[in-house]
């Protein structure tokens, strides 16, 4: 009965191996979260860090409103079910379940022998902590046993029970305490297939009944898809995607998720994209095949992938192709063999009818159909259900929230024209004249400006609302915190845009300023003061900052470690004393002014209201700092 918050959680082993990398997640109350991924991806480690069985190297873990990083497992009010059950072999099932209760005390008031509350001299009850008594214990154990159907086995020992029953006992031991969070570490992987399916639905039922937050670790994607309200897909210590089962299936963020979720595996082919008019031609690299899809299906695709030169990966599921459907996107397939699964038949074939490069395709066809091996058929692709990934990064190139709006524009006399509107460029943006292109991050479209627009579509993606705006029949994506409809007015945050025109390019102002430094300790009036040491200057570090640094590094090593301190432009200011910096340029973005300065060999952007020149002193705000350990690249604060 609590929400969880994981912020920049890292697990780094003493030998430098990173098991979990920058894990960020908000888990709401009563959610059923599933961590899924191949073995060694860090899912169990993350769970064990939540349980308190594994130390958190860096980051902040909250259960409810309490930071539990340094807390003992027993104080976190969690319960865990282990893969190998971990029952207490010398105790009866009753004792196994009751043990957690016996270890706990409950608040009560002081009572006399007859059970009446004893009052103090002010006539108030005296609060005390006491252990569960016999009746309470057996009532609670019996209640848990009844839920799981193991009442008749309570007097037995674990070794007299079967695998499924033992796992029930392990569940009983967890639920009897009514914990805030239930953690389950591959609880079903030791059971046989039939029992697993049965226990799967029982655990889902249990979750509904208990109304507790569940975190479930599995390597089985079917378990993940059928049980979770949200799924975290992990690989090599990195979170690959966090979303609902439906969204993971429909909108995989990268090739790994696309291939991991769903059976049979998604079909992948190397290809290139070429846009002509309102159509996009997809040409397969390894096979003599080509399909044409309407541009409307690839609207959010980053434009520079559409010029036919970039290698991309096309992905589509077995059910997105059919051997007898109607449509324009047709490909020739040479069938190699088929598997009859009852309600459906999986047809395996190759796009390359001549043989050669591996172009294996799996197609789902209706039940009990016969296919001749080596026959060449025509398959039809549903263009609504295709996925595209970058060939190198393997990230989706048609994300649900596009990063940028790509617009054609022209610059003339300090005025920028795009989407049929003309805006005066702020002095900070100096650009050549002529036609060019404009990249506006979706997050840089602000509401409340002087550009009139109409909301044509809105879509909620991971708690954010993506609005499609229409401006003079052109399209602009914007992110909003609230639902908006009809006519709105928007403005552009010019410091975030990229503008290429007239042979010159203006890049956005970097959001992060980095400075290298260390942490030092000094004795002052008997107390130890910890400071950030940057370029020979000291800035007192707030308690929150240095305690986190100490937690992430160990002991005195903290003082020999190089850190990268980061601030946004608002975290730095100009003052009387501080890091010496040379002003290079003043940037005037209209409403706001920034100074570009050079300090300690780094270029910094500082928010300022005055026009600066020459040498200034930069004062960073130590409370707003975020700290990255340079060597291991761990975000500490």
């Amino acid at each position: 009965m609590a929400n969880l918050s994981l912020k920049h959680i890292y697990k780094v082993y003493p030998n430098g191996a990173k098991a979990v990398n920058d894990f960020n997640m908000q888990i709401d109350d009563k959610e059923f979260i599933v961590f899924v991924g191949p073995s060694g991806c860090g899912k169990s480690t993350t769970l064990r860090m939540i349980a308190g069985l594994e130390e958190i190297t860096a980051g902040e873990l909250k259960i409810g409103d309490t930071v539990v990083n340094g807390m003992e497992p027993k104080d976190r009010d969690i319960a865990m079910v282990f893969q190998n059950y971990a029952l207490y072999p010398h105790m009866t099932i009753f004792e196994n379940i009751a043990f957690g209760l016996r270890m706990r005390k409950i608040p009560d008031v002081k009572r006399d022998k007859e059970g009446r509350p004893v009052l103090d001299k002010d006539g108030k009850e005296i609060p005390v902590m006491r252990k569960y008594n016999k009746q309470e214990l057996s009532a609670k154990v019996n209640e848990a046993a009844e839920i799981l159907g193991i009442t008749e086995y309570l007097k037995r020992k674990p070794k007299e029970m079967s695998g499924g029953q033992r796992q029930r006992v392990a569940l009983g031991r967890a639920i009897v305490r009514h914990p805030k969070v239930m953690l389950l570490d591959e609880p079903l992987s030791n059971l046989d297939a039939k029992l697993r399916t049965q226990m799967r639905s029982e655990i889902v039922k249990l979750h509904k009944k208990l109304e507790t937050t569940f975190i479930y670790v599995t390597h089985d994607q079917i378990e993940a898809m059928t049980m979770g309200t949200r799924i975290v897909v992990m690989k090599d210590g990195f979170v690959k995607q966090i979303d609902t089962p439906k969204n993971l299936y429909k909108y995989p963020a990268n090739k790994f998720v696309a291939g991991f979720i769903g059976t049979p595996q998604m079909n992948f082919f190397a290809c290139t994209l070429k846009k002509s008019g309102d159509k996009v031609k997809i040409k397969f690299t390894d096979a003599d095949a080509e399909i044409t899809v309407p541009y409307a299906a690839l609207m959010k695709t980053t434009p520079h992938y559409l010029d036919g030169s970039k290698n991309v990966i096309l992905g589509f599921r077995a059910e997105a192709v059919s051997l007898d459907g109607a449509g324009d996107a047709k490909i020739k397939v040479k069938i190699s063999h088929s598997e009859e699964l009852g309600t459906e038949t999986l047809v395996y074939g190759d796009l390359n009818t001549e043989g050669g490069a591996d172009t294996r395709i799996i197609i789902k066809a209706g039940g009990f159909r016969q296919f001749e091996p080596d026959a060449v058929c025509t398959a039809t692709l549903d263009t609504e259900q295709i996925h595209l990934f970058d060939a190198e990064t393997e990230e989706s190139i048609m994300p649900r929230i596009p990063e940028f709006n790509y617009l054609d524009c022209s610059v003339k006399g300090g005025k920028l024209t795009f989407l049929g509107i003309t805006e005066t460029l702020p002095p900070a943006i100096s650009c050549g004249e002529g036609k060019g292109e404009l990249l506006i991050p979706v997050s840089a479209v602000k509401f409340g400006g002087d550009i009139k627009a109409k909301v044509t579509d809105s879509e909620t993606v991971n708690g954010k609302i993506l609005l499609t705006l229409e401006i003079n029949s052109g399209r602009l994506y914007a992110l909003s915190d609230e639902e908006r409809k009809g006519d709105v007015s928007v403005g552009i945050d010019y410091k975030a845009i990229t503008l290429r025109a007239g042979g010159s390019e203006t890049l956005p102002m970097p959001r992060i300023n980095c400075l290298d430094g260390t942490l030092i300790a000094e004795k002052k009036d008997g107390a130890t003061v910890y400071s950030l040491l940057i370029g020979g200057e000291k800035f007192a570090a707030p308690e929150e900052v240095y305690t986190k640094i100490f937690a992430a590094t160990t002991g005195r090593k903290a003082f020999n470690t190089a850190f990268r301190y980061e601030w946004d432009a608002y975290g730095l200011s100009v003052g009387e004393s501080g890091i010496s910096a040379e002003v290079e340029e003043m940037l005037d973005y209209g409403e706001e002014k920034f100074a570009r300065v050079n300090a300690c060999g780094q270029t910094l952007y500082v928010k300022t209201d005055a026009d600066l020149s020459g040498t200034v002193r930069i004062v960073p705000d130590a409370a707003k700092v975020s700290v990255v350990e340079s060597e291991r690249r761990i975000r500490i604060v």
């Binding site: 349980a51 003992e72 497992p73 971990a86 072999p89």
Partner: protein
């Protein structure tokens, strides 16, 4: 008889011969082992006492005189007193030594701390030297602490040396799945609770083994008590028996036989706990 039958008979003779040879060897080995023991038992029932009055290899006459005098003639050689001394030292060393050994083993098995590996290697290495190598040093230390001629000095040495052999116990603790500890910790148990409520009940066979070994060593040790105990009244049985006169061989033999009784009793009391499979059913292997 046809050929096949001849083969069967041949195989049968061969098998019988094999068994016969095996038993002959086993009986021979057993005899070599048991003969000294047997001889000692016979000697303890010798009526005359002195080894010189034996009729060849075996005593000339048999009787219970040696056993009687062991407990009745206590003016010169106070055997009951020695026995009590030995029992006290052995029981105390057994309790303290077992406690220290299992705590050391638990520590090494369950906790990961700096220099753990180095300490394990060092103890292993030190354990390879015979314990009497340090007797002079031990003697000097004991004089410094004024523990010469005191039973507690011996008990301290025995208990302190016992954890050197923690490896066997650690190996046993390692077989108890770590997830039981983790489950207990999540259920609210402290390290001490885990140790007392889970590790100890699950390692009964190992506890018995540890207790037996740490009992038998002080019980039969000679070198240390010989060096540290001066008063005859403080002697342990081993030292006391050595102080017997030449003509008291039967008494010596009787004393040696009698000293084996507590160990045999202890063994039969504890043997029922030395069973395997305590942790069955805990985890899925």
């Amino acid at each position: 008889m046809n050929k096949a039958n001849v083969k069967v008979v041949k195989a049968k003779t061969k098998r019988v011969l094999n068994v016969l040879i095996t038993y002959c060897i086993l009986i021979l080995v057993a005899f070599i082992f048991f003969f000294p023991c047997l001889w000692l038992i016979l000697a303890s029932f010798s009526k005359s006492g002195s080894i010189y009055s034996f009729d060849g290899f075996f005593p000339a006459q048999y009787g219970f005189d040696a056993f009687k005098s062991l407990f009745t003639d206590t003016v010169m050689y106070n055997y009951p007193r020695w026995f009590a001394n030995t029992l006290f030292i052995a029981v105390m060393s057994c309790i303290l030594g077992t406690l220290l050994t299992i705590l050391t083993a638990y520590c090494m098995s369950r906790f990961r701390f700096k220099s753990r590996k180095a300490m394990m290697k060092a103890t292993l290495l030190l354990g390879m030297f015979p314990s009497f190598m340090g007797t002079i040093a031990v003697y000097l230390i004991m004089t410094q602490f004024n523990l010469i001629n005191q039973h507690w000095g011996l008990i301290l040495i025995y208990s302190a040396q016992a954890p050197m052999g923690y490896m066997v116990q650690k190996g046993f603790f390692d077989t108890i799945p770590y997830s039981i500890d983790e489950a207990a910790r999540i259920d609210g148990a402290s390290n001490f609770t885990v140790f007392v409520k889970f590790i100890l009940p699950l390692s009964k066979p190992m506890l018995v083994y540890t207790a037996l070994t740490s009992f038998t060593w002080p019980w039969s040790d000679f070198i240390l008590p010989k060096m540290l105990l001066i008063d005859k009244d403080l002697y342990t049985v081993a030292v006391g028996l050595m102080s017997l006169g030449e003509t008291e061989f039967a008494r010596f033999a009787a004393g040696s036989i009698f000293i084996a009784i507590p160990i045999i009793v202890l063994y039969f009391c504890l043997v029922k706990y030395m069973i395997n499979g305590m942790a069955a059913g805990a985890v899925k292997e």
